[in-house]
Symmetry: C2
Subunit: 389 residues, 2 copies
């Protein structure tokens, strides 16, 4: 495979262990934790060109580039990160960590407790090391920001040129701007919402119930039983995919087209192409994502609610923001629709926050923030170009 | 309890056994079958005042009235059926059967095969009788109409004054008007669609996977294992409820209100009220509905597609309709939105079918067709009053 010239190329993740205890919103404390992260581009001499990328529910620290020559696919935000792209690695030093509670190397449910024999989260024999499982504390968006702030300090970055993310990542960007106004120059908040609606929570709840009720879940200790709650996680992921694609995108992609096998008049056969697509997505997911992490991430979504600490007054919650903000929504996104993004924008305007807003007309639903949509890339790039380094 | 005066009062279901074989769309034949049904009101002398009610996915033949003095709740369409109501039992003789493949007395997955020791579907000891389970053939909307046509003949009804239903019931009303143009005077098609969208099918598929992957499903033979796929059916029902309520209705009903227990920072605790609501709906459902029937009903929805036999030309498919049609949609219904109802209406107009259409502005989502919404009841009643008997 030839790696495209507008890619950051081959990258290797790094891991850093943070020693100091981290107090969490849930009242518990992590004695210490590891964060795995990737970086792209070069930090400039005055350390003013760093951009933090926050990932969404099922993503990780691998936002761009390839892990090796024959890696079949690049990081999850390859469309936006690279030389000459909106997150231009010729200008920015880009940092993307895996969130605390994640399953790709940062301390989380599938890593062993630090007080046990361990030389690192993934360096332990699962047959002997004991993993957190559901003993891992609930983490919130605020906790993530707190843990990422230490990563910034460790890297010698006093102030991010920008913090950016889509979906749950956008919520972290917003929380960063609220919690560390003097450490964020620009916040890029894409396909997000100021908090989940009852319907959003309802979808998360169904996904969680599917996992929790899988007998192979073993109350989160499936690692010890050499089991995986495959069925529950698959159903959760299939459901997620319905909310990532909009109705029109599904119609255009699949319509009512039948699979090669045609109509079989069976409750379990895959007849319509959309069934096959969802099943494939679900099955592929269970092999590379941890069910406990999925539960934690959905909870972090449910709990996110910056206005809650301010008597439900979002403008009041955002009034401390010093960063220039850029909010983007997609017309066909029904998970976090433009209406939800506008709630953020309206509250920012009320709070005299410097905000720009772009509503991108397109047909791909929530997943659009990952896609090479020309107008989206154009406005995104226009904003990042305006960032003075 | 005092039974309201605008109720049909205490009713008892009847069962009829149909001897003649019924050829099904799937290519299989039922040697015979039982239909359980209820009737309200009186058949007039020239048998011209009969109205057939077709039920939706999880309903049954008990559309109105009470089964006994202390019955805590009436039939599922009590808001619309009764003396002085839109389906006025002072004028109409109302018939509502449980669909073939149902689980409330008509022949279905939970009834025994007729060639085995049985004196009726529910009169068999489940320990000795063998139930169909997933051996029950897939039934389609057309099959239901075919089976109901025999019920009409048995009752001496040559022509229905009207066939009416909401959601999957509305699809049956439409199919009746297509398949038996000379036996339907009026078709009342509420909150329906001419066929499922890819997204509709996707939701059905997730629900089915939740059931099929429950280890207590035993490939549909859970009756024999004294088991119930409770978890899968619960998840399926929870998901269904999200699609029955719209986002606004959920917000108004629950918002982000917390349960009495407050925030517990646990992945399995019920914290937001919407979670508790869905879990309650799911748990209540599994005790009175059969999982195999749920699978069959979702398949009937997926397969419904009258235009398919006419080169995807819906107007062509509807051109044989002789009935006056009344189509109703609800603005907040996102399962089968007004856009989908208008597809039916537009095709009817193109096909010169006599059609009236009402779009009811309200906030309750798909479930609105069951609710006492004044404008809905008013236009519904106006239409039924215009039916000459």
């Amino acid at each position: 495979m030839t790696i495209p010239t507008d890619s950051v190329g081959i990258v290797m993740p790094k891991t850093h262990h943070f020693d100091a205890p981290l107090a969490l919103d849930c009242g518990r404390t992590l004695d210490g934790y590891d964060l795995v992260y990737e970086t792209y581009g070069e930090l400039n001499a005055d350390r003013s060109n760093a951009m933090l990328i926050c990932h969404a529910l099922s993503s990780d620290h691998h936002a761009a580039g390839y892990h090796h020559e024959n890696d079949p696919k690049p990081g999850w935000w390859e469309t936006c990160i690279g030389p000459g792209k909106p997150i231009d690695t010729n200008r920015f030093f880009v940092v993307c960590p895996n969130n605390l509670g994640g399953c790709k190397g940062s301390t989380g449910p599938n890593t062993v407790k630090l007080d046990e024999e361990s030389t690192g989260p993934n360096a332990v024999n699962p047959d002997t090391g004991k993993r957190y499982g559901l003993d891992f504390p609930i983490v919130t968006v605020k906790d993530w920001v707190r843990s990422q702030e230490r990563l910034a300090s460790m890297l010698g970055i006093d102030k991010w040129a920008a913090v950016a993310g889509g979906s749950l990542g956008g919520m972290q960007a917003l929380q960063w701007a609220i919690d560390f106004p003097d450490r964020v120059d620009n916040a890029i908040i894409i396909a997000a919402a100021p908090r989940l609606s009852a319907q959003n929570i309802a979808f998360n709840e169904v996904a969680r119930q599917a996992i929790l009720s899988d007998p192979d879940f073993y109350n989160g200790r499936y690692y010890e039983y050499d089991a995986l709650p495959r069925r529950g996680l698959m159903v959760a992921r299939m459901l997620g995919h319905i909310t990532y694609l909009c109705e029109d995108a599904m119609r255009d992609k699949f319509g009512r087209e039948l699979h090669a096998g045609g109509m079989n008049f069976s409750v379990s056969d895959t007849e319509f192409q959309v069934q096959g697509y969802l099943q494939h997505q679900g099955e592929a997911f269970v092999d590379h994502f941890d069910a406990n992490t999925y539960l934690l991430m959905t909870k972090a979504l449910d709990y996110f609610d910056p206005a809650a600490d301010h008597g439900d007054d979002l403008a009041e919650a955002l009034s401390c923001i010093d960063a220039r903000c850029f909010v983007v929504s997609f017309t066909s996104d029904w998970r976090f629709s433009p209406v939800r993004s506008k709630e953020i924008v309206d509250a920012m305007i009320k709070a005299h926050v410097d905000v720009s807003y772009a509503e991108v007309e397109e047909q791909n639903g929530h997943d659009a923030f990952l896609m090479p949509i020309p107008y989206y890339l154009e406005v995104f790039h226009a904003f990042t170009k305006s960032i003075a380094l």
